[in-house]
Symmetry: C2
Subunit: 410 residues, 2 copies
C-alpha cells in the first residue's frame, strides 16, 4: 500500500497508553522518513516493559527495513528500551566509558553531583553506533542487523526531532547523486516560514523543498540532483538564506545551543542563566555542547519567589508589584544572573501550566530577558501546547533571543 | 504494568500513518475502558490491508482480553476491517439481510439511490453482534472468541464515541452490584462542564464520577455500589441533573438526534434541513433514528451559492451583502427550508476549512439557524479543530439548538 521503502515506528511509554497523552513524534518521523524515501507501514505504542519492547521490535523488523523507536532511554528503572532492543537482536549491552566520561563531564560543568543511575544512559547495545544528543543527556543508538536498521531515540520531542534532523536526515536523504542542504531557523513557527518560502516553490520545484517544523525549530531541507546539482544547490541556498533572514541560525548539523556557545566564545563573553519555568532546561541544553564550560558559568533555577529574591536579588516589591511572570522580573533576574560573574545573562519566567494561569497571564505566557554588553532584549510570548511544549518553546526562544543579540552571520 | 484487565487498541487507516493525522480515538477509548476496569497495554496503527489487520488482531488477542478496533468499516474497497477480523478469527462473513434492509430504508427516507457498494456495510462477521450506529451508516460489530472480545467500530470520532458510550459502556461498566447512570449533555465543551460539576466531587466522591468529553457531546458517568446503591444513585442523578441544566438532553443510551425526533413527534411538527458546510451530516444523523420519517421531511444540501439561491431561495443580494457564512443567510436558508413543507427548519452555513477562512470569518466560523412555530434561534460559533471536527461540531450544535427551541424536559 505504502509508497517507498517500508519503515515502522515504535513509541515506548506507559503514559502514552493512558487517557491524556498521544505520541506525536511519529508525525515528525513520518515527515523525515518521507523526505528520505521511506513510508511508515505501522505504528505501535507499548508499555515500559522489556518483553513488550523486544517483541515489538522483532515483529516490526519483519515488516520494515527501518524501525524508529522513541522513548525509554532515560536513566530510571522504567527506561528499558536499551534492554528491549538488545533482547530483540540477541545482543548484550556494555557500559561505554567514553560516553560515561561525557556524561560525567556534563555534570561537572553544571557543578552537580552525577546521580549513580545516570550511568544507565551510558549502556550501549553491542555493536550500536552512538548518536549524540545535542539537546539533552540521553544519546540515541543506531543498530544494524541483517541489512535492517533499528534507531533508538529519546522521547522528548525536541531531542527526538533534533537527532533525526542533524544525524539521520543527512545520512538517509542522500542516495548517490543527490545533494542535501539544511537551513536551520529558530524563533519562528512553521506556518509563517512556509508562507515566506512558498514564492520560491515555482522557481526551484516544490518537490525539492521540505519544511520540517518541530516543537520550536524549523528546518528547510533543500535537495538537488543531476549534472548541475552543486550549482543549483548553491543557488537555492542563496535564495532561501535571503528569505530566512535573521531567523537562520545555522546549516545542516548546527544546533542552536552550539551556535550560541560559538558566538559567545568569539566575543570572549561568558553567560549565566536564571531560569524559572524552564527549571534548568536552558542550562541543560547549553551544557550538552562540548566545551560549553569555556563560556557558560552556570546559573540559578529560581522556581519559587523566595529563591528569585535570594538567588537573583529580585526585589520583593518588584515581585509584588508586577508578579513573577513579568518583564520587570525577567529583566531583574537577568541582571541578578550577570552579578554571578558573567558579561551576559539569560532569564526565563513564565506560566508553564497546567495550573497557575489567569485571564491576564494565561498558561503559556513567558517573559524572556537577555543582557549583554551589546545591549539588552526582552520578549513576551504566549506559547501553545501543554506544559512540556511551553517549556521547550521557552528554552529555544530564550537561546534564540540571545543568539540574535550576539549578532553576526550564521 | 497496567492496572486492570488488559485491553488493546487497533486503529486501521493508511491516512493515520502519514505526516498529518494522528489517531485520537484511542484517548476516548482509554477513558471508557478505564471507567470499565480495563487498561490499554498496547496500541497499533496499521494500513488498510486485510493481512495487516488480521495479523494485528491475532497478536493483540494474545496480549489482551479485549481488542477495540477503530476504522475501516465504510463501504469502499479500502474498508477491509470486516475481512481482517474474519480472517483473524478464522470465520466467514455473511450479508445480514435485516441490516441491509435498514440501510436501504435509510436511503429511501433520504429519497436517495443506495449505491451498490453500501451493501458491503451489511457484511457481518459470522457470530458477531451488530452494534447499531446512532449517528451514521456503518454499524459496529462485537465478536466473542475463546472468552475474549473484539469490537469493530467506525473510525469517525463521533460515531466511535457514540457507540462506545451508548452500547458498550453500560455493558462493561457494571460488574455485579455496581449501578451506572449516564447523563448526556450537548451544546457544551468538556472543560466548563468539569468546572461546573467539580463542587460535587467532595460530596459524592471523585472516583464515582467520570466525564467523557467527546468531539461534541459530554457524558457524565455516575456509579454507585453497596447496600444504598439505588438511593445514592438517585441522589447523585438529582444533583448532577440540576448542575447540567438545559445542557442535559438525555440519559444512558439516549442520542441527540433520537431526542430531537421524539420531541418533534410529541409536538406533531415536521422538520426540514438546509445544510451547507455539513453537506448532509445533519440529515444523515436524523435519518439514522428509526422512524425519523414520521417527522423529518428531508432537506437540501446547498453547498454552492447558486444552490443556496435556487434551492432555499436565498436572495442573491443578501448573499452579496453578508456573504454565505452569515446570520442573515443562515436565517434565510431556514426560512427556505420551511417552505419545503415543514413547521420547523434547521440551517447550517460555515467555513469548515482548511481553505476559505478570512480574518473576519476564520476557519471554524459557523452560523446556525433554527425556525419553529415556537420561535426562532440563531447561534454563531467558532469551532476548534480540523475540517472533520468543525463539521461534527456543526451538526451536533445545530441539532442541539433545535432541541433547546423545542423545549421540554429530557
Amino acid at each position: 500500500m505504502a509508497q517507498g521503502r517500508a519503515a515502522a515506528f515504535l513509541a515506548v511509554g506507559s503514559e502514552l497508553l493512558r487517557t491524556e497523552r498521544l505520541d506525536t513524534n511519529s508525525l515528525f518521523a513520518a515527515r523525515v522518513l518521507a523526505r528520505c524515501g521511506f513510508a511508515l507501514v505501522e505504528k505501535r505504542i507499548v508499555e515500559d516493559d522489556v518483553a513488550a519492547i523486544a517483541a515489538a521490535i522483532v515483529d516490526l523488523l519483519r515488516r520494515a527495513e527501518l524501525v524508529v523507536v522513541s522513548g525509554g532511554l532515560g536513566p530510571t528503572a522504567d527506561d528499558v528500551t536499551r534492554e528491549g532492543a538488545a533482547r530483540a537482536l540477541g545482543r548484550g549491552a556494555t557500559r561505554n566509558d567514553a560516553l560515561l566520561d561525557r556524561l560525567a563531564a556534563r555534570y561537572r560543568r553544571l557543578a552537580r553531583q552525577m546521580p549513580p543511575i545516570v550511568a544507565r544512559m551510558a549502556e550501549v547495545v553491542d555493536g550500536a553506533e552512538v548518536l549524540e544528543n545535542p539537546l539533552g543527556t540521553a544519546p540515541g543508538q543506531l543498530l544494524e542487523a541483517d541489512g535492517r536498521t533499528v534507531v533508538l531515540l529519546p522521547g522528548v520531542p525536541r531531542e527526538f526531532e533534533e537527532i533525526l534532523t542533524v544525524h539521520l536526515l543527512p545520512r538517509w536523504a542522500a542516495p548517490a547523486g543527490v545533494l542535501v542542504r539544511s537551513l536551520r531557523l529558530a524563533g519562528v513557527y512553521e506556518s509563517p516560514v512556509e508562507q515566506r518560502v512558498s514564492p520560491l516553490y515555482d522557481r526551484f520545484g516544490r518537490e525539492r523543498i521540505t519544511i520540517l517544523g518541530g516543537r520550536a525549530l524549523v528546518t528547510l531541507v533543500l535537495t538537488t540532483s543531476g549534472t548541475r546539482a552543486r550549482e543549483e544547490l548553491a543557488e537555492m541556498e542563496r535564495a532561501f538564506t535571503a528569505v530566512a533572514g535573521d531567523d537562520l541560525f545555522g546549516f545542516d548539523d548546527d544546533t542552536l545551543p552550539g551556535v550560541v556557545v560559538a558566538k559567545l566564545r568569539e566575543r570572549g563573553w561568558h553567560l549565566a542563566t536564571a531560569e524559572s519555568c524552564t527549571g534548568g532546561l536552558v542550562g541543560a541544553q547549553l551544557t550538552a555542547v562540548p566545551g560549553a564550560s569555556d563560556v557558560y558559568v552556570g546559573g540559578v533555577v529560581a522556581y519559587s519567589n523566595a529563591l528569585k529574591a535570594s538567588l537573583t536579588g529580585v526585589d520583593a516589591a518588584l515581585l509584588a508589584a508586577h508578579g513573577a511572570v513579568s518583564r520587570e522580573v525577567a529583566e531583574a533576574m537577568a541582571q541578578g544572573a550577570c552579578a554571578l560573574g558573567a558579561e551576559c545573562a539569560l532569564a526565563v519566567t513564565g506560566v508553564a501550566g497546567p495550573a497557575g494561569g489567569s485571564a491576564e497571564k494565561p498558561v503559556g505566557t513567558v517573559h524572556l530577558a537577555v543582557a549583554t554588553p551589546a545591549g539588552q532584549a526582552h520578549a513576551r510570548h504566549h506559547f501553545p501546547g501543554d506544559r512540556a511544549a511551553v517549556r521547550e518553546f521557552s528554552a529555544t526562544f530564550a537561546l534564540d533571543l540571545l543568539r540574535r543579540r550576539l549578532g553576526g552571520a550564521p
